[in-house]
């Protein structure tokens, strides 16, 4: 543990703690949904939304802390941007792969 974190002003610490708590809660709920839900198309909801948002909050908190400590960098924002671009692409590809693997499991459209 570093003494660096003790030099953080209170408002930054509170904001970062809030972002970290929200992000971790989202990631944990997303992973729980992945483990719990019933079939593949339901399971896809958890990680593809909650986890991306959770990791986004964690990365934003980290960027905030390092910017307030006077050591800003683009890495967190680059990772954040990259995750937000790639998550829908990989989810789309996964759905296409699942539909190809088992076309009979395609969910029925809702009744009119």
């Amino acid at each position: 543990m570093t003494p660096l974190l003790h030099t953080l002003p209170l408002w930054a610490e509170l904001l970062a703690a809030l972002l970290l708590l929200v992000g971790t809660a989202f990631a944990l709920v997303g992973s729980y949904g992945l483990a719990k839900l019933g079939d593949f198309y339901k399971r896809l909801h958890g990680p593809s939304k909650a986890t991306t948002l959770g990791v986004g909050c964690v990365l934003a908190a980290s960027a905030l802390v390092f910017a307030v400590l006077g050591n800003p960098g683009f890495h967190e924002l680059l990772v954040l941007l990259f995750l937000f671009i790639t998550a829908p692409v990989s989810a789309h590809l996964l759905v296409k792969a699942a539909l190809k693997a088992d076309p009979a499991a395609r969910p029925q459209p809702p009744p009119r």
Partner: protein, 90 residues
């Protein structure tokens, strides 16, 4: 004073999330489930690394996080393409 107390608990929560993902990775009935579990697992591992970097006060971990993000996406796309076409590079 809050962050040094909070960060170990958050890392524990992410470790729990990784365990849930690993359970789905080993159990997953079909291949797409396993690929989805791997995808979630690398994203959560990336967040765990970011938390570790925050705890240690070091920015070295962000380079690793970026590498994990890039290579994990390539891996997910390659596995999905293989399921789709039985071929990766066409």
């Amino acid at each position: 004073m809050i962050l040094p107390l909070l960060l170990p608990w958050l890392m524990g929560a992410f470790a729990l999330a990784l365990l849930l993902n690993a359970w789905r990775l080993f159990k997953g009935p079909a291949l797409p489930d396993r690929i989805l579990a791997l995808d979630t697992l690398y994203i959560n591992a990336l967040a765990l690394l970011v938390l570790l970097g925050l705890w240690r006060g070091s920015k070295v971990y962000f380079e690793v996080a970026m590498l994990i993000g890039l290579l994990g996406f390539v891996g997910t796309v390659a596995l999905s393409k293989f399921l789709l076409r039985r071929d990766i590079v066409e």
